[in-house]
C-alpha cells in the first residue's frame, strides 16, 4: 500500500475531473460534491480521456461515444461501453489528494 500525492484538492473543483499522468497509465480524479474518486482515465470502449468527459451525479460520460461509468464503483452505466473501469483507493489529507496506484482493481 503506497499512497502517492497526485494533486491538491483545489486543483479539482466540484463537478470536475482532472487527468493525472504520473503513473504508468493515466488516471482521472473526480470531485463529486466534495468527495474525491479516482479511476483509469482511458475509456474501456474507445481510446479517449474520461477526464475530458461530462461528470454528473457521480457518473462520467465519455465524449467520444457517450458510454457512462460510475466513478465510485467503476460500473458501466451506458452502452456502448461493456467493461467496467479500474478504480483506485483515494485519501485526502490536509488539502492534498493521494492515490494508491498499485491497489487499483477492476470495478464491478
Amino acid at each position: 500500500m503506497a499512497f502517492e500525492k497526485v494533486c491538491n484538492l483545489e486543483d479539482v473543483s466540484e463537478g470536475e475531473a482532472l487527468q493525472i499522468e504520473t503513473f504508468e497509465e493515466a488516471i482521472a480524479v473526480y470531485n463529486v460534491g466534495g468527495q474525491i474518486f479516482a479511476t483509469q482515465d482511458r475509456c474501456t470502449h474507445g481510446d479517449w480521456s474520461l477526464a475530458d468527459g461530462f461528470l454528473e451525479d457521480g457518473v462520467i460520460e465519455c465524449t467520444l461515444h457517450w458510454g457512462k461509468f460510475c466513478v465510485r464503483t467503476g460500473k458501466v452505466k451506458a452502452p456502448p461501453a461493456c467493461d467496467p473501469l479500474t478504480i483506485y483507493p483515494v485519501e485526502v489529507r490536509g488539502g492534498e489528494i493521494f492515490v494508491d496506484y498499485e491497489a487499483g482493481k477492476v470495478g464491478e
Partner: protein
C-alpha cells in the same frame, strides 16, 4: 401604310414560332447576362436552376464566405455550425486559439458530423456509426477498426474536407479554394469602408449573443445587391411606413428629412460595394433612435472614433451606410446588423444575422443596439419586412415566362463615377446609384466564366 410609320413602344409578347432551347450556359451566354454599356441585366440570374448549380461550384466554391464573428467562438472547443453556399461546415476554435473550418460531412457514409447549432466540444462524433473527430477535424477513432477494416485503412486519409479560414477585424471568412487570393487581397480597397463599423475603437467589436436565422422565398442576389448598391429604395418609398411607425418620441416627421448628400463606392476589384449619406442625422435618428445616434455622432466614443479613423466625416457624419462584401456578406455600419445570405436553391434564401457593437461601448449603448436592431433589422424587424417584401415579390413575378424574358434596367449612375476625395477614396459616385450593383454582377459573371485565378485575381 401610315400605321407602319408609328413605332410602337410596347414590348408585346413572344414570337411563338420556336420553343426556347434549354439553355446550356456557355461562357458567351453568361457574359451576355449583364450589359454594362447599355445598363441591362437578364433576370434569369435569379431563377435558373442550371446557373444556380454552376454558381455553387464557381462562386461559392471559390469566394471568401462570411461565417461569423471571432467572439461567436471565443474559447478553445467553441464551435458554430454554418454553411458555405449549400455546403455545411463546422467552425471550431482550437486549443492554440486558431480557427479551423471543415465540411460537416462524415467521409464514412456521408452523415452530418455535428447536428447542433453551436456550443463547446471536446470532440465530434458521428451519430451514425461513431467515427470520431478531434477539434482540428482529424479522424481519431473508428469503432472496430482493427477487427473490421482492412490493414491498409489509414485514419489520416479519412478526415473531412477542410477550408481556409482568415479573419478581418473580427469577421471570420472561409474559402474552399487553395489558389484564391488571401482575404485581405480579396477585400481589395473595400476594407477602408468596412472599418467604419469594425474599427472605430482599438477595442474592436464584439457580437451580441447568437445568430438569428430565417427563410425567405427569393434569390440571394436581391439581398446582396441591395445592401451593396441600393440607397435608392431607402431614399424613395420602401421604408416610409417603417420610419413613420417607429418615429422616436417627440420627433416630427419633418425632422426625419431624407438626406440628399452622399456617396456610393464600387471596389476596384471583387464586386464589393457600399453607399452612405454624409451630414444629416435625421434618417439615422428615425431608424436607430436618439441614444445610438448620439453615441455615433456626439459622444466621447465619437471623438475617439474620429481620432482613430482620422476623419470627422467618416467617424461622425457618415449615416445609414449599407455594404456588401461579395458575394454574401452584408452589413449596415452604424446600425450594425451583419448577415450572410445563405443560398437555398434559386428561389430561396436563409438569412443568418447577428449584431456587433464596439467592444468598449457602455452597457446601455450595447443594450440599445440589441433592442434597436431587433426592432429594425431582424426576423421581425420593420425595415427587414419592407426589404423582404420587395425581393419576394420580384421572385414571385419571375415565375412568369414573359417576366423572365424582360431585361431589367440597371443604368443609374452609368458613366458618372469618378475618383473620390481624401475622406472617401476609390471609385465614387452619387449616393443614388447602381454602379456598385454593376460591380457586383460583373464579379459574379467573371467568377462564373473565368476558371483560373491568373485572370480572375486582383
Amino acid at each position: 401604310m401610315t400605321a407602319g410609320k408609328t413605332k410602337t413602344r410596347l414590348n408585346i409578347g413572344a414570337d411563338p414560332r420556336e420553343f426556347q432551347k434549354r439553355p446550356s450556359w456557355t461562357n458567351e451566354d453568361i457574359l451576355g447576362l449583364l450589359d454594362e454599356e447599355d445598363g441591362t441585366l437578364d433576370p434569369r440570374i435569379y431563377t435558373d436552376e442550371d446557373l444556380y448549380r454552376l454558381e455553387q461550384e464557381r462562386v461559392f466554391g471559390r469566394a471568401w464566405i462570411l461565417l461569423g464573428h471571432e467572439t461567436h467562438v471565443p474559447k478553445p472547443g467553441d464551435f458554430l455550425t454554418t454553411y458555405m453556399g449549400e455546403d455545411p461546415v463546422i467552425l471550431v476554435r482550437q486549443k492554440d486559439k486558431s480557427l479551423r473550418v471543415f465540411l460537416n460531412q462524415c467521409p464514412h457514409r456521408g452523415m452530418r458530423i455535428c447536428r447542433t447549432d453551436g456550443g463547446n466540444a471536446k470532440s465530434f462524433t458521428c451519430s451514425y456509426h461513431g467515427w470520431a473527430y478531434d477539434l482540428g477535424g482529424n479522424l481519431i477513432n473508428v469503432p472496430y477498426e482493427s477487427e473490421a477494416f482492412c490493414s491498409d485503412f489509414n485514419k489520416s486519409e479519412w478526415g473531412p474536407t477542410h477550408a481556409r479560414v482568415e479573419t478581418y477585424k473580427g469577421l471570420v471568412f472561409a474559402n474552399w479554394d487553395k489558389n484564391a487570393p488571401t482575404l485581405l487581397e480579396y477585400l481589395s480597397d473595400a476594407t477602408y469602408y468596412m472599418d467604419h463599423m469594425l474599427d472605430r475603437t482599438p477595442a474592436g467589436t464584439e457580437v451580441i449573443g447568437g445568430m438569428q436565422k430565417w427563410i425567405i422565398p427569393c434569390n440571394w442576389k436581391f439581398a446582396a445587391e441591395q445592401f451593396c448598391s441600393d440607397m435608392y429604395h431607402a431614399g424613395t418609398v420602401s421604408h416610409l411606413s417603417g420610419i413613420e411607425a417607429g418615429l422616436p418620441e417627440g420627433m416630427e416627421l419633418s425632422d426625419a428629412k431624407i438626406p440628399t448628400v452622399g456617396y456610393q463606392f464600387r471596389a476596384k476589384w471583387g464586386g464589393h460595394g457600399t453607399g452612405f449619406y454624409v451630414g444629416e442625422p435625421g434618417m439615422l435618428l428615425a431608424i436607430m433612435g436618439p441614444k445610438v445616434t448620439e453615441y455615433l455622432t456626439d459622444s466621447e466614443a465619437a471623438s475617439r472614433a474620429e481620432q482613430h479613423l482620422g476623419s470627422a466625416e467618416r467617424a461622425r457624419q457618415l449615416m445609414v451606410q449599407h455594404m456588401t462584401v461579395f458575394p454574401t456578406c452584408s452589413f449596415l455600419p452604424g446600425i450594425n446588423t451583419v448577415r450572410t445570405w445563405q443560398p437555398r436553391g434559386p428561389h430561396e434564401t436563409e438569412i443568418w444575422a447577428f449584431t456587433v457593437v464596439d467592444a468598449d461601448a457602455p452597457e446601455e449603448v450595447k443594450e440599445e443596439y440589441r433592442r434597436q436592431t431587433l426592432r429594425t433589422f431582424s426576423a421581425g424587424g420593420v425595415f427587414e419586412q419592407d426589404d423582404g417584401e420587395n425581393w419576394v415579390e420580384i421572385q414571385s413575378v419571375l415565375r412568369g415566362h414573359q417576366a423572365r424574358k424582360r431585361r431589367f434596367n440597371i443604368q443609374m449612375g452609368k458613366g458618372r463615377s469618378g475618383v473620390g476625395n481624401k475622406d472617401f477614396p476609390g471609385s465614387i459616385g452619387y449616393v443614388y446609384n447602381e454602379e456598385a450593383a454593376r460591380g457586383l454582377y460583373r464579379q459574379w459573371i467573371r467568377m462564373m466564366t473565368e476558371p483560373s485565378w491568373e485572370t480572375l485575381g486582383p
